[in-house]
Amino acid sequence: MPETLLGQSPLTVLILVPAVVAALVWLVPPLRRLARPIGLVTSALVLAGAIALAVGFDVSAANETQFAQVADWIPAFGASYAVGVNGLGLVMVLLATLLVPVVIVAGWNEVTLPATVGDGDETAERKALDYRRAGWVALILVLEALMIAVFASRDIFLFYVVFEAMLIPVYFLIGVYGGANRRYAAIKFLLYSLAGGLLMLAAVIGYFFVGTDQGPQAFLLDQAPGLDAAGVPLITEMLLFLGFFIAFAIKAPMWPVHTWLPDAAQQATPGTSTLLVGVLDKVGTFGMIVLCLPLFPNAAAAAAPVIIVLALISILYGGLLAIGQNDMMRLIAFTSVSHFGFIVLGIFVGSATAVTGSMIYMVAHGVSTAGMFLVAGFLTQRGGTQDMGAYSGMQRITRVIAGTFLVSGLASLALPGLSGFVPEYLVLLGTFEVAPWMAIVAVLGVVLAALYILLAYQRVFTGPPSANHAGMPDLNGREKAVMGVLIAAMLVLGFYPAPVLDLLTPLSETVAALVTGGVA
């Protein structure tokens, strides 16, 4: 284990750096004016750190926790500060650290003063603007720290605390920096999440009491025994499982607890939506893999058929609803409901191939959704509305926006050669292996995806060019760089996903065996 400066895990450093910088930017007034460059440099450094971590990662031991660090935290309650990553954790950390600088660059000029502020005093206005921007950067950096922490948590209690703490920056990012109806969306998001969080908290406490180990390291994930070994009745195990699962299903989000997402996506800024849907929602499916299955294997196996049906409903329902949307951001939100259906299906269907598919799906979807949210943001900021009906023939006016939207959309509809394909292919083939009829239902999602993406493209970008938007500027260099990075990632994941798969495949057998009741 490579030791860093103070004997800490490099993961701890990656968590601390953005958190400390966030505090500085927020609290030290002279730094506020430089908040955006500071945020960018910090997130770039964190990304570099994450890449260095990946380079130092031992791929041959991808199913073991690496860069681990364990320290006592609340021994009385069995909680430790334990961090470390296996292949999946590493991949998720890489996704999160890639998207943060992308979002900062994309939203560079996005934060402005509300119309109410501004009585002509330029200095005051500038100060207010700096303050607002500093808040934005600080929130994103705090969120980055928490995202790294949640994917690196190797302690159940730590995971829970971070899981809940993440709500705070997102709540403010939506509620302060969002659109006209932002408060409603932010509160809806918060209430949904808190409801899930409370269930999870109950389950965490319950796990502590029914578990065999109630010592100072009771919550350590790498030592925590599954409840199947503890002789706990299935009903108790099932209740605890549901506490975790419902929290994760809300986060993911799955049908029927998805309704917060379209509102949140509609009101949040594209950058917030990118982090929310691209990374944070993955904590739900990540939690299903690293907590639900290993801790409650019997309950997971018993609940799997129901969960699979809900996943199939999500795939089709999300697809159909996406077709019915007029608001671009809501549309993207519903495509995600459909995609999360695929991810959950792959996790619970009981095939190692499908599990591998679900795990790489989490990364691929993060990248393609980022592309869609951000380019839709670039378009709607210029066009003044998210209503697709207000646009027409934009391909003739803003070519680069049209092209990058289409590529991101094609990645989302799983066109081979782009990021979406390999994951969806693995989930479908793996599902077919164990449950052919489920696969045949799920594959309908492939046609729905073609419809919702191309219908949106048709409505916005084809037809006679809209006179209202004549002369609208195309992407500038900064925005092109954002889309360029994302599209490059989509292509790499499409054509050469092998390095990522090598990190994930070793874990899949274990996970799939948990669902099918086989021996890990």
Binding site: A165, T259, L321, V443
Partner: protein, 636 residues
């Protein structure tokens, strides 16, 4: 140059060219089209390198597997990206790159006045690269990359003029219907993975003879669904007519010569699977036979020259599909017809484009007539294509179509009689509708406004197209004329394909071969004569006559769109609307209602929103701390 390197470059060059043209954008407008032509020509050179490379080897040694890289190493499913160069894929390489390059050259002139010509060539190059991946892939997974890649290129090119909404709709329709077929291909791969544990050709085809008939039938049917989508075969044919919205070079290259024949390639390539399931084979033949007649009937009624040609393409691919379903005896004939069809149909599409070029983009044949005097090269080259497709003795189509008709008569029981007669009668129909098209366009009285007659519409000045357009047409016409005889001579094409298609035992048809040939020629002549009487000798009305029930049905593509509309589109739209309403009203409402207390909490939270970020964060922090304290207290 080694075959390995040539196989990599043949794909890499057009792919790179497409990338350059798309990334440079407007900066490459001045020369982009020539880069596109060069890239395609370079691929054609590579195709010949590969051809001669293979010819230099012994017949049994003509399969080269080019390993590229480990693509999807996902444990149990482990897919390598690799190319398989063998006589079958090499045949396609030649067809795609040779015809493709001619069409690229043609398009330089055809698209000259389009602002977006460079983008057009980028898409054409993208198409070439994807199509080459499709035929070179050594696994179903990589084949699928090309398969959907050509679907994307087709989408982009059908919608090239998508500022017209109906063209954008046509493009989307093509992609979505293709995706319905692609579902079949994904299911087929799922079934292969479940039953064999692999999706690469070598493993799958080696294991195919051992498959249970149930699995073989399932995989076969699923593959057939995929083939139907891509090749516009019944019941997934409805997109092809609308696809004529694309610029004519696209129709020639993608929707006549290459992409739409990919379904036939898939069936022939997967022969081992179909041979393990007589049921699947029979279904392939039935689909082919239905489409053969369907397309021919529609072709008899269309007045739009491109749509008539599209119906003809459907019908001719029906021939190929029928042959491919007959098993090893038909594989080589299917590919042979595919090859000759690629030449003469592409030639005729380019001819149609040349006519449109000279007639202000008019496509209605009722507004043509007598054009042979004004565009001699177009007339002669088109004429050779026409003679080839109707199977005039000696020309390309004669050799290839005749073989299929003969093969259809081979077998036992009711099948040879039914399929043989369908194939035979369709030859007569083909002769009728193609002669109708040819006579209405080039012969009879001029029905366009030449400034002297009474014809409506703007005054037309039909003229021959420039050399860049006529030379490709001439080359393709030479193919229409001689390619069939050249390849049929000494059965050399069948020997060439034998390492892939296997050696077929010779069986005699249920009717003697000379009788079949004689009947084919007689039926063809009857078809031509009927068309001559109605569309050359007598005057063609400018407005289509009401016509019989069948004619009216054929004009509307046998109501394919009405059926799809009623069965899928309308119920689908209704479902979407209902669900969209219900999502807010019911699902969201229920979840909201479930947490009635939460709503109350929301109200209170709302009141707390006094606009100060700091007070929020304080409140939130207190909340989290409270949660923690409660937890700790509970423990202690």
């Amino acid at each position: 140059m080694s075959i390995d390197l040539a196989a990599i470059l043949i794909v890499a060059v057009p792919l790179a060219s497409a990338g350059v043209l798309l990334l440079l954008g407007r900066r490459s407008d001045g020369w982009g089209h020539w880069l596109g032509v060069l890239a395609s020509a370079a691929s054609a050179v590579m195709a010949f390198v590969i051809l001669f490379g293979l010819l230099g080897r012994g017949a049994e040694d003509r399969a080269v597997d080019v390993h590229l890289f480990s693509w999807i190493p996902a444990g149990e499913l482990d897919v390598d990206a690799g190319f398989l160069v063998d006589p079958l894929s090499a045949t396609f390489l030649l067809l795609i790159t040779f015809v493709g390059t001619l069409i690229h050259v043609y398009a330089v002139a055809y698209m000259e006045h389009d602002d977006d010509r460079r983008r057009f060539f980028a898409y054409l190059n993208l198409f070439i690269a994807a199509m080459l991946i499709l035929v070179l892939a050594d696994s179903f997974a990589l084949l699928f990359v090309g398969w959907e890649g050509v679907g994307l290129a087709s989408y982009l090119l059908i919608g090239f003029w998508n500022q017209r909404t109906e063209y954008a709709v046509a493009a989307k329709k093509a992609f979505v219907m293709n995706r319905v077929g692609d579902m079949g291909l994904i299911i087929a791969m799922g079934a292969m993975f479940a039953s064999i544990g692999s999706v690469d050709f070598e493993t799958v085809f080696a294991a195919a003879p051992e498959l249970s008939e149930g699995w073989a039938t399932a995989i076969g049917i699923a593959l057939l669904i995929g083939a139907c989508g891509k090749s516009a075969q019944f019941p997934l044919q409805a997109w092809l007519g609308d696809a004529m919205a694309g610029p004519t070079p696209v129709s020639a290259l993608i929707h006549a010569a290459t992409m739409v024949t990919a379904g036939v390639y898939l069936v022939v390539r997967s022969g081992a699977i179909f041979e393990a399931s007589p049921t699947a084979q029979l279904l392939v033949v039935i689909v082919g036979a239905i489409t053969l007649v369907f397309g021919a009937i529609v072709g008899c009624a269309k007045d739009d020259i491109k749509k008539a040609l599209a119906a003809s393409t459907m019908s001719q691919i029906g021939y190929m599909m029928l042959a491919a379903g007959l098993g090893p005896i038909g594989y080589a004939f299917a590919i042979f017809h595919l090859l000759t069809h690629g030449f003469f149909k592409a030639g005729m599409f380019l001819g149609a484009g040349s006519v449109m070029h000279g007639m202000n983009d008019e496509v209605n044949m009722r507004g043509f007539g007598g054009l042979s005097r004004f565009m001699k090269v177009t007339w002669i080259t088109f004429g050779l294509g026409w003679l080839a497709i109707i199977g005039f003795p000696g020309l390309s189509g004669f050799w290839s179509k005749d073989k299929i008709i003969e093969a259809a008569f081979v077998g036992e029981g009711w099948q040879p009689w039914v399929f043989g007669m369908v194939a035979l009668l369709a030859a007569g129909l083909t002769a009728f509708y193609m002669s109708r098209l040819f006579f209405m366009t080039f012969h009879g009285k001029a029905r366009w406004n030449d400034g002297k007659n009474e014809a409506p519409g703007p005054e037309q000045h039909p003229h021959e197209s420039p050399l860049l357009m006529t030379v490709p047409m001439i080359v393709l016409a030479v193919g229409s004329l001689g390619l069939g005889a050249f390849l049929a001579f000494g059965d050399r094409f069948f020997h060439w394909l034998e390492p892939v298609t296997g050696h077929a035992e010779h069986h005699d048809p249920v009717i003697p071969i000379p009788v079949i040939m004689g009947a084919t020629v007689v039926l063809m002549l009857i078809g031509v004569l009927l068309a001559w009487r109605q569309y050359w000798a007598s005057s063609v009305p400018l407005m289509p006559p009401t016509g019989s029930v069948l004619t009216r049905a054929a004009r509307r593509d046998l109501y394919q769109d009405s059926v799809n509309e009623a069965v899928f589109a309308r119920p689908g739209t209704h479902t979407v609307r209902t669900l969209t309403y219900a999502d807010t009203a019911v699902v969201d409402g229920a979840v909201n209602g479930l947490g009635a207390g939460a709503v109350g909490l929301g109200e209170r939270l709302r009141k707390l929103q006094n606009g100060h970020v700091r007070s929020y964060s304080a409140a939130m922090s207190v909340g989290v701390v409270l949660v923690l304290v409660i937890v700790l207290v509970a423990r202690i």
